[in-house]
Symmetry: C2
Subunit: 426 residues, 2 copies
């Protein structure tokens, strides 16, 4: 890990920078696959499933038999754990539903917003080496709370030609029936354009590798909404004298196991704390199955000592981490400094793992600095807020003249006339 001691501000870009994706080169490859799916539908999807995942596709949609088989393979303890997670995620997200508040801005002029579900949504759930059934909880639950009518799921199969059974168990638990056995760019294309088997959707959610991410960005330019731009997962940790170094070490390592491109940043309040955490990381890493991935990731990661707490949080805000852990007994007070982050974990007993799975918050969060302007997934992500207004004749009499003057000043006389004709009418 690179180390910085009280770096001056001109060094910060070096600390907060992310590795750059070669977008133009990916664009061509991804765009060719998308066009093929748009033109050739299921046939193209099946071709790429074979080419990239090595699996032969019959029906793309998961059958009842496949559901039944999967349900029998998941052990009861795991089922209970998932049900606990579902409860907490539900409780946190259902509180995000908004009541309609009618505002009378002027007597006779009433305006309000209503949250109307996005009718058709597609959820992409990565498979492969780490089949993320937890992501299906994180996307499926708010979609159901929002009231989305058509919710479909695409997920790739493993080397055995089957979808991970826990993903199918979660789908079953949530009552989601439209599950399609395809991943990668071809899955994004299928959801964006529709094929013989897969209905086109209005918005696509879910994480993926750089091909999937590029595909989402390209279909976004073509008018399909997406949850957010996504990049490799990240954690930043602020640790002061009151942290438990071995806890902090375990959190840094848990982020690092996601992959060699994961980002891990520690900002410690002293050299002593940093050294203690580093020692604990070395000890713990040896015992972890993914220690090779972890070591590769840590090579690109950074440890910073910032003795001044204001500077520490300025740097962390500049970085805008997906996950920010404040490992301090004073975490709630320090939270006031946070301006940019996806999700913040306060105190020594709030590890990122808890939020990844079961505390209730969403784990689909902005990466790559996007937390400066983007929120994580919530019920908001599955609705549009449509504004309504009801103006009485009396209300139009009160605001009509202002509208006429402003429209005329913008040179829009027909806009003015729409008011004039009403005000003149008896």
């Amino acid at each position: 890990m690179q180390t910085f001691i009280n770096p001056s501000e001109d060094k910060w870009p070096q600390i907060t920078g992310r590795s750059h994706l070669d977008t133009p080169a990916l664009n061509k490859t991804v765009s060719d696959i998308l066009n093929d799916v748009k033109e050739n539908g299921d046939a193209a999807v099946k071709k790429y499933n074979l080419q990239f995942d090595g699996v032969v596709s019959g029906e793309l949609k998961v059958s009842q038999d496949e559901f039944n088989e999967a349900l029998s393979l998941v052990n009861e303890d795991l089922k209970a754990a998932i049900q606990l997670a579902r409860e907490n995620i539900y409780r946190f997200h259902v509180a995000q539903k908004e009541a309609v508040i009618k505002i009378e801005t002027t007597t006779g002029v009433t305006c309000w917003r209503e949250s109307i579900p996005v009718e058709k949504v597609g959820l992409y759930i990565p498979g492969g080496t780490a089949p993320l059934f937890s992501t299906l909880l994180m996307l499926g639950i708010p979609a159901l709370i929002a009231g989305c009518k058509n919710i479909l799921v695409c997920t790739p199969r493993g080397k055995d030609g089957k979808i991970n059974p826990v993903i199918l168990y979660v789908a079953h638990l949530l009552g989601l029936k439209n599950i399609y056995k395809t991943g990668g760019v071809q899955a994004i294309g299928a959801m964006a354009y529709g094929t013989q088997s897969v209905d086109a959707v209005y918005k696509i959610f879910g994480p993926g590798n750089q091909y999937v991410t590029t595909a989402k960005q390209l279909v976004n330019q073509q008018g399909i909404a997406i949850d957010m731009p996504a990049g490799p997962s990240e954690v930043a940790i602020y640790a002061d004298e009151s942290c438990r170094p071995h806890f902090v070490a375990s959190d840094l390592l848990s982020q690092a196991e996601h992959g060699a491109d994961s980002q891990v940043i520690l900002v410690a309040s002293s050299i002593k704390i940093m050294d203690e955490i580093r020692f604990q990381m070395d000890v713990q890493a040896e015992a972890l199955p993914r220690k090779n991935i972890i070591k590769e990731c840590l090579g690109g990661s950074r440890m910073v000592v910032m003795e001044n707490v204001t500077d520490a949080f300025s740097l962390l805000n500049e970085y805008a981490a997906e996950h920010l852990i404040i490992a301090s007994d004073n975490a709630e007070a320090l939270a006031k400094y946070v301006r940019n982050a996806g999700s913040v974990f306060l105190g020594n007993y709030s590890p990122e793992s808890a939020g990844d799975y079961a505390s209730g918050t969403n784990h689909t969060l902005p990466t790559n600095g996007n937390a400066r302007a983007y929120s994580g997934v919530s019920v908001d992500s599955f609705v549009k807020k449509i504004t309504f207004q009801k103006i009485e004749k009396e209300g139009l009499q009160k605001i009509g003249n202002a509208v006429e003057l402003m429209a005329a000043a913008e040179g829009l006389d027909a806009h003015k006339n729409a008011i004039t004709i009403r005000l003149k009418y008896e």
Copy 2:
């Protein structure tokens, strides 16, 4: 206008289709300008200001003298109208601020969201033939309510080399000081990358022509957030027996005057109503200054008779209009059918013009069918909702085992270990 009488569903795509932009061709032109601005800063911005707008640029930032001159040029009636609009827009938007609600999902596990302003935002205000000072109200007011720290505005100058004085009056009224004299792709580039004069921002807002829209989409792919994809303005009107045909005609014409590419769709409940509205349009159009633009726009527009009200709204939901007017005494009941729209105007005294300027709702709305998945601009657009969680030791004891089981099932043992190490600690 093309006319359809009770069209069957296979005809709907023809009715709801939008004209297609040639994105790849635009991409190259726009991307070259963006790269030039990225590399050469102010010099490139000034070069394109001369090339496209025919204006020589000295300082890009508006000076106090320029403000003073502009304020003296705006008449008092218009100032009062703008102040009335500001009041209503403020009242509607300030109610969108969200209180923090802490949810204890499990005893000892507390989760909440906080709305934190996007620190740096850029507002693009079109100038040229129709300088939209109203758009500055619509973007500036929610940005101020959200608490954005740096709010900057770019707007092009007219042929006289000056910014429209009403735009500067609105900026002054709102207390916005960082106004830059540049429009077009170069303005988007300046806000995205920063130049010697213009600070880089995290999110760019505002409407523009197809070059500006393409520029926003390209910088969005590079990590700068944008309000929404934008296209030509649109209105759809549902009119039944209780409408006032001359009111409806005035609303259709007010949309049509925006430009030849504006979209206007009428869905009437009977041929009689449609014919009455068409007659009124012909009469009114003759008296309007922009009648040539209007006629060109109406050439591409559509009139549909839908005798079945459910079908009528299915078609309108398929279209997903930016503005939807329900011209009926029964509008509030009919509003229940609306699933996709940007902003909805209920009843015979709720013209789109009112919402464009002064009723209080925002006029920056999703076009081009994007209302299926996007909301219009609101205070939400200027904040991120960051999730926080505080877990007590007792809370971690309750959910820890579930997290361990789920993490292990996803093959993420370091995630599991971050829990185990805490649960074991006395």
